[in-house]
Symmetry: C2
Subunit: 149 residues, 2 copies
């Protein structure tokens, strides 16, 4: 497991989001599998262990107001929806963080409601992040499908 299966538009927005977070000294992973079974489109880990989750919405048809985002929030300090510049922003609940992105970068329009992870959850998510990132990197350096022995 190493690449991204985000579709074209969403993959472009994710790239912009990762560039934004990298400039803010966060490290990012795409499609991060949570213990709940959901996958976070982007998970970002800050210099003091801060954890942000970003859900990419490529268009209004991709957006559900069913409040599933609260499930993501249980795994991060800061949760954001990310949309493109032509997305109708009024669809996004006012209490949720909002990022507007393109393929080249992103801007935080607003932070969401404050929420701070408990220590045990932060530790578990950080460890999962560390191990997954290194496994994906290892797969690029020494691809299993090319191993002869």
């Amino acid at each position: 497991e190493r690449g991204s299966s985000l579709s074209g538009v969403a993959a472009g927005l994710a790239r912009g989001v990762c560039r934004y977070f990298a400039a803010a000294d966060y490290s990012c992973l795409l499609e991060f599998p949570l213990k709940s079974g959901r996958r976070a489109d982007v998970m970002a880990l800050g210099p003091s262990g801060e954890i942000a989750v970003v859900e990419i919405k490529s268009g209004p048809q991709d957006f559900r107001t069913d409040r599933k985002w609260r499930d993501y929030r249980d795994f991060c300090d800061d949760f954001f929806f990310c949309v493109g510049g032509d997305f109708p922003q009024t669809l996004i609940p006012a209490e949720v963080g909002l990022i507007v992105a393109d393929r080249y970068g992103a801007a935080v329009i607003r932070q969401g409601e404050p929420h701070r992870l408990a220590g045990a959850r932060r530790k578990a998510v950080s460890l999962r992040f560390a191990r997954l990132a290194a496994r994906r990197l290892q797969a690029t350096l020494d691809p299993p499908e090319l191993r002869l022995a």
Copy 2:
């Protein structure tokens, strides 16, 4: 910063070590910069947060009995020297963990003295591991030198 600058023989041994640890459900990073300024040749992170450091010794001329390995041990639960099959193993202090490797795998010959990281150090090393792994992965997915904007 993303690749490895380990020389040919050492890089091969490191590959074998990483395969060994991957099979044991550890995730590995090469050339991990420690807060002390030293670099660990291989750092491995286990399923419960266990941290192992492996120093690769490509030959006797590369080996110093100056006990620098104690500096590495301050950053891990388990420390190992890793050598090739033709290395004179009696050069390695008996109290240190020992791995013999080739390009395709590795075997733990002995564990070193038990040593358990304190919580704060473990947390700091794990966070550094997570952020570095994701940054290196990101550099392979979206190389800075190819960015046009």
